[in-house]
Structures are given as C-alpha cells and as structure tokens.
C-alpha cells in the first residue's frame, strides 16, 4: 500500500513538474531570447583588430595604387622626354631655317643695295630730257621707296641662283656660335648714333720747328656724333673732346711747355663741335659704306672758339666700326696759343696740321 502511494505520489510529482514547466514556458516564451554563440566568446569583436584589419587592407590598396602610379609616371616621363627630343629637333630645324632665311635676306639686301646703286645712276642718264641737274637730294628721294626693290627682286629667277651655294652653309644655328644675337645690320645710310671708342681713337697735330718736325698726340679722346652718310643735307651733329694735358710729343720738357701754352689747367679740354657734313661730289658710297667730305664745326682751344672745316673720310672696318680720319691746317695763334720759341732761334711754326683718327661704334637702338 505504501509502495503504491509512493508510486502515485511520484507520478503526481512528475505531472506537476511537467505542468510547472509548461506553465513557465507559456509565461516566459515571449521574454526569453536564445542566442547561439561561438565556442570562443572570450575574443569578442575587438574594434582595434577590425581597424587594424581595415588599415592593412587600405595599405595594400595604396601600395597597389602606388605601383600603378609609378608605372604611369615612368610612362609619362618617357613620353615627355620623347616629345622634348622631338621639339628640340623641330627647334633646331627651325633655327636652321631661320639661319638660311637670314642668309638669303643678307644676299637680297646686298642685291637691293646694288640695285639702289643702279637706280641711283638712272637719273644721271635720264637727266638729258630734264633741265634740272641731278643733285644728291632728288636721287635719294627716288631711291627711298624700298618696297619697290624687293618687288623687283622677288620675281626675278636668277636671284636664288646667287645664294644657292649658301644653302648648305645655312645649317648653323642662328646667332653666333650658339649665342643668340639680335638680327642687326649696319646701315650707314640711316641716321645713327655713334660713340667714340676709348683707347681706339687718336687725335694729334704735326708741327714744324727750326730743329725738327714733331707730332703731338693723345688717345684720351671721348665723344659721340649722329650721322647719316647718305644725307645730302649733311645734318650731322656731335662733339669730340680731347684732354689737352694728355698731349705728348715724346720730349718731356717740350710737353710741359706745350701744356703751359695750351693752358691745360684752366682749359683742360680741346673740343670740336660737329655742325654739318658736306659730302664731296661722288663721295658717298653706300654699298661700300664709305663717305668723303668736309666736316664743318667749331674748334675750341684754350677757351677760344673758331669755325673749322676738316676734310674727312669715313669707312666701316671689319669689326663694324666707323673709322673717321682727316686733317686740316690750323694756326695756333688764332686760338691765343703762344707760338713757342727758344732764345729766338729755335722757333715753332704758327701753323700746325691737326689730324684725327677715330673709331666709333654704332649705338644699337630699336633693333630686334
């Protein structure tokens, strides 16, 4: 009996337990959430590790990008270098072309100058029907339109024949020995400013005396002038100055006396002011760049000024400098200079020959 009671109690306990479990499930089923986790919950989701991972991924991508960029940069650099080389070759070719063109232009200019001379001679031939005598003035006016000359040169087929041999020489780059120089041509038939070159100019005088003839000379010469060889009016201007105290004759005592006579301390400069150039008939040769004529101006010695005319010759040397030479007689007593005399027996003549030997450089202005 007691055994059966225990069995019934046991079964009842089990039923109650199942009922309690069911009741509890019903009550908590909506409140309980079952989450299944992995076997390594200790590690968890570490944000630092995630960040590290992201950084590593990014670093990898940056490395890839860098590699790709470096390749692109190398290709770009190679392309730029190729283009630069091509450009350089083009520039060199252009330079050669410019050089050839310049040479051709030089030849054409020479032709123009030659034609000018021919045209210059035409009025003289055509002067017969015209009563007025040909003068340098009208000739110049007739030649003036330069546009006409290239028009004549351009269509003439023989013109390229002359510069033809120069074409192979046109290979050098423009300028001079790789230097870039402005394209300037010496034009003596235009109004130009010239500056005397120190150390390359001499002014002196030749004197006669009882004992022997002698020359006084100096290279301390400065000045400048404005001139157009081909100006029939000869509207030149300028000034040449000489340091009186620098004149030497080769004899020390005589030099001292000369400086005293010239009053070099009171009047340290001997000056010649250019007022006009009077060309000699046929004295202008533009093609050869020479001129002959007389320079008129005023000479100042020892503070006294008088008009003076000096026959001169102008030419252009290989260094493209204008060389001016000339001489004229002059009485020193006209300028208040005492004529030297020693004991009344060794006398210097009153008249001396004043001469100039100047070199001047054309001032570049407005040339490109």
């Amino acid at each position: 009996m007691a055994t059966k009671l225990l069995q019934w109690l046991g079964a009842l306990f089990v039923v109650l337990l199942v009922a309690a479990a069911l009741f509890g499930f019903m009550v908590l089923k909506d409140r309980v959430r079952v989450v299944v986790q992995s076997d390594a919950p200790a590690t968890g989701s570490d944000p630092t590790a995630l960040l590290r991972d992201d950084v590593q991924v990014l670093a990898g991508r940056v490395a890839e990008l860098q590699a790709a960029l470096s390749q692109n940069f190398e290709r770009l650099q190679a392309a730029i270098e190729e283009r630069a080389a091509a450009r350089h070759a083009d520039v060199m070719a252009l330079r050669r072309e410019v050089g050839a063109t310049k040479q051709l232009l030089d030849h054409l200019t020479q032709d123009v100058v030659a034609m000018r001379e021919q045209v210059r001679g035409l009025p003289a031939q055509a002067a017969a029907p015209q009563p007025s005598a040909p003068t340098p003035g009208p000739q110049r006016v007739e030649v003036a339109p330069e546009v006409v000359v290239p028009a004549e040169v351009k269509p003439s087929p023989p013109a390229p024949a002359e510069p033809a041999p120069a074409v192979p020489q046109a290979k050098p780059a423009p300028g001079f020995l790789s230097f870039s120089l402005p394209t300037v041509q010496f034009r003596c038939d235009e109004l130009q400013d010239y500056t005397l070159l120190p150390g390359l100019c001499r002014v002196g005088f030749d004197a006669k005396s009882t004992l022997h003839d002698f020359t006084g000379v100096t290279e301390r010469v400065t000045g400048r002038f404005t001139a157009d060889f081909d100006d029939p009016q000869g509207a030149w201007s300028g000034e040449v100055a000489v340091e009186a105290g620098s004149l030497v004759t080769g004899v020390e005592g005589r030099d001292t006396d000369m400086w005293e006579h010239l009053a070099a301390k009171e009047h340290p400069q001997i000056r010649f002011t250019i007022e006009r150039f009077k060309p000699a008939p046929g004295g202008i040769d533009v093609a050869k760049q020479t001129a002959r004529g007389e320079i008129e101006g005023k000479m100042t010695i020892r503070g006294q000024t008088h008009a003076l005319t000096m026959p001169v010759r102008l030419e252009v040397d290989a260094q493209k400098r204008v060389v001016v030479t000339g001489q004229t007689p002059l009485k020193i007593s006209d300028y208040g200079v005492p004529v030297p005399s020693q004991l009344g027996i060794i006398n210097m003549q009153d008249e001396v020959v004043v001469w100039i030997a100047l070199r001047a450089r054309m001032q570049l202005k407005g040339h490109k």
Binding site: P172, F176, L177, S178, F179, G204, L211, T215, V217, K365
Partner: protein
C-alpha cells in the same frame, strides 16, 4: 752785322750739330690709327685641337660685332665647355651664358653637335670663323 745777330748765328752754329741727335718723330699719316698686335699674328688651320682652358675675345668681326662686345670660353679637355658673351640689345648690355660640348676635328670646331666651323690657331690665340662673324680669342688665365 749787329751784335744780337752775331750772337744768334753763334748760337745756331752751336746748336746745329745737335739737331741730328733729335730725330723727327712725326707720325706718318698711315700710322695714325691705333693698331692692335693681332695683325702680326699668323693663324694656321688647327685640326683636332685639344682645347683646354680659358679664352677671351680680343677681336670680333662681321655682323656679330654689331651686338657682341666680349666673349669668354672655358674649354674642358673632356669635351665640354662653358661660355659667356656680353651682348648689346637695344642699347642694353647683358651677359648670355652657355654650356655645351665641343669637338675639334679635321673639319673644324663643332659646338654642341652643330656643323663644324673653321678653327685656326696662333700662339696663345684661336680664330673661329663662323657664318656671321669671326672671333679671335686669346688664352687667359683664371686668377
């Protein structure tokens, strides 16, 4: 004859023998221009010249002379050079500088691979004849 005249004659006789001692120093008309010693130099063609050292221009001829005032070249035996030129443009002076290569062959002096130009040599001097001018250089020293 008066005494003063006699005295002058006497003095003249005394001075006369000395006149031969004082030579005439009149400068001939053809010698009035200042000359340069370059005219006495004898240049010869210099093929395959071993250029080295500093050179300065002492003469520039031709159209280049219109705007070129002074040129310096410093040649290196390895075939490179550096150069400076004082040029005048529109009245303004300025230096141009160059660096390049040079080669002296039988054909002449080739600068920067360009066609060669005539190169001549005289003692301590070089003469380069290019298309637009002639350049005479003198050996200089760096101080």
């Amino acid at each position: 004859m008066t005494h003063p005249r006699l005295a002058r004659c006497g003095l003249l006789l005394l001075v006369a023998p000395w006149t031969g001692c004082i030579a005439s120093n009149v400068v001939a008309a053809g010698d009035r221009l200042v000359t340069t010693p370059l005219e006495q130099l004898h240049f010869e063609v210099a093929p395959a010249l071993a250029l080295q050292g500093l050179y300065e221009s002492v003469e520039i001829r031709g159209d280049a002379a219109l705007s070129l005032r002074k040129v310096y070249y410093l040649f290196d035996a390895r075939g490179t050079y550096t150069a400076a030129a004082l040029t005048e443009t529109d009245g303004v002076l300025g230096f141009q500088t160059l660096n390049g290569t040079w080669q002296s062959t039988v054909a002449g002096l080739a600068l920067d691979g360009r066609p060669p130009v005539l190169l001549e040599q005289a003692p301590q001097h070089l003469r380069i004849t290019a298309e637009s001018g002639v350049l005479v250089l003198r050996a200089a020293s760096l101080k």
